[in-house]
């Protein structure tokens, strides 16, 4: 299920993008940091890899068609610093996830935050914080 967010939330999302490093390794200009997209779905795969990780989420549309979305985040140790481990997103895990979408409309986004069905929240960008 795909939901639109309010302007306030969009502004918050944009602020988060400018406040911390977004991506390493490649430019992030393919993504629109002024927009957010939120989907509900189930985890298909979690690629816990360098330089970026990808969380694949199967999203079922109103017509019953399943689209696999990819949400890009930082690599393993930065995710680990933000408290995101491979076991947090096992195949089949239900979640709501938000990201900055691709400008060209492909089903991919920079992962901004996620909430699992059990209510636990995950913010991959928290991994850059010094604790």
């Amino acid at each position: 299920m795909i939901r639109a967010f309010t302007t306030a939330v969009l502004a918050l999302g944009a602020l988060a993008v400018t406040a911390v490093p977004g991506l390493a390794h490649h430019s992030a200009t393919m993504f629109d940091d002024k927009k957010t997209v939120t989907v509900e779905g189930v985890v298909k795969k979690f690629e816990y890899t360098n330089p970026h990780s990808w969380l694949w989420v199967d999203v079922t549309g109103k017509d019953g068609k399943v689209t696999t979305w990819g949400f890009e985040a930082e690599g393993p140790t930065t995710l680990q610093r933000s408290g995101i481990r491979p076991s947090d997103f096992k195949v089949g895990t239900k979640l709501t996830i938000t990201g900055n979408p691709m400008k060209d409309g492909k089903p991919a986004a920079i992962w901004v935050d996620a909430v699992r069905a059990d209510g636990k929240k995950f913010n991959p960008r928290a991994g850059f914080a010094i604790k």
Binding site: H25, H26, P51
Partner: protein, 321 residues
């Protein structure tokens, strides 16, 4: 009888063990009580460091002046090595900016030559149009001095003859030789990402000169540096959780005057001892592969998860363009 045999056997063992023990003692690091290290070089203010750079025409001249001021420095023994252990990272509050003092919304603080100022202006204008290509998109290392800015895990290994400055990203290690060797002869130098670094210890401060570097960019939306770039750094432990580096960058084609910045790296708390630097295989995931577009921008080569899937254009996205 048996008591006599036992005493003889013990004596033989003791005799055999003594030379071994002596050998081990001779090879082990000096275990004597370390004397607190003091530096000759003063802790200068930012303005003083900027002025210091202006007084020296090249990075090598600055390095030699610091060496003279420090009375040539003094090699450290194992027992004197400062404790730089732990896992560190660069604070993210400055984003990727090469100069942590760069103000939000403003450009890099370097004073550039007109040619490189124009290049930077174009780069920033291009980004506003969505056109940006980062040279490390090919999995190339960031290279020094950009090495200083990457926000990932770091370790610092100090030994009397070499110091290793380690950045997790692409398994990137800078080796600083403090055994008194000089740089590679000028005629045998060729550009390499992290260059050639020699240094000396001034008490707890490590002073480094680096040359033989490859051209690159300081960071995205930052200026270029050329393969004539050279740096001088003074590293020290500022407090229990902070390592700092005074950095002077000389690059006559690009910099109208040396660029001084102060870098800082914070020790991460790791109560569960879970932080570990792992092998970084930049090319392990096809979904991270990008290509440079005809306009000079960046685009993904194609995802493995959306083969044949039509993206739900429009309906999926809301927000201001």
């Amino acid at each position: 009888m048996s008591r006599t045999r036992g005493a003889v056997a013990a004596g033989v063992l003791l005799t055999l063990a003594m030379p071994l023990a002596a050998c081990k003692t001779a090879e082990a690091p000096d275990a004597s009580t370390p004397t607190p290290l003091t530096a000759v070089l003063p802790d200068r203010t930012k303005d003083q460091n900027i002025e210091l750079a202006r007084q020296h025409r090249t990075a090598l001249e600055l390095y030699q002046a610091l060496r003279k001021e420090a009375n040539n420095g003094r090699p450290l023994q194992w027992s004197q090595m400062p404790d730089w252990s732990g896992v560190y990272s660069r604070p993210a509050n400055a984003g990727f900016a090469f100069d942590p003092d760069q103000k939000p919304g403003e450009g890099p603080t370097a004073k550039l030559t007109p040619e490189y100022q124009a290049k930077l202006a174009k780069r920033i204008e291009d980004v506003k149009k969505g056109i940006e290509w980062d040279p490390i998109s090919t999995c190339a290392p960031p290279g020094h001095p950009r090495w200083l800015t990457e926000p990932f895990l770091r370790e610092f290994i100090v030994t009397p003859n070499q110091t290793w400055l380690i950045n997790e990203m692409v398994n990137d290690i800078r080796r600083i030789y403090t055994d008194g060797r000089d740089h590679v002869p000028a005629e045998d130098r060729y550009p390499i990402p992290n260059g050639d670094s020699i240094g000396f210890w001034d008490g707890p401060k490590l002073v480094i000169h680096t040359n033989q570097l490859q051209s690159g960019i300081y960071q995205r939306q930052h200026p270029d540096f050329t393969d004539q770039v050279e740096t001088v750094e003074i590293w020290r432990k500022a407090d229990d959780k902070t390592l700092t580096a005074d950095v002077w960058v000389y690059d006559p084609p690009a910099l109208a005057e040396p660029w001084y910045v102060k870098q800082s790296y914070s020790k991460l708390s790791d109560p569960d001892r879970n932080l570990r630097i792992r092998y970084w295989n930049c090319g392990e995931n096809q979904n991270n592969a990008v290509v440079q577009t005809k306009e000079g921008g960046t685009q993904f080569r194609g995802f493995t998860f959306d083969k044949g899937a039509g993206a739900p254009k429009g309906a999926a996205q809301k927000g201001k363009p």
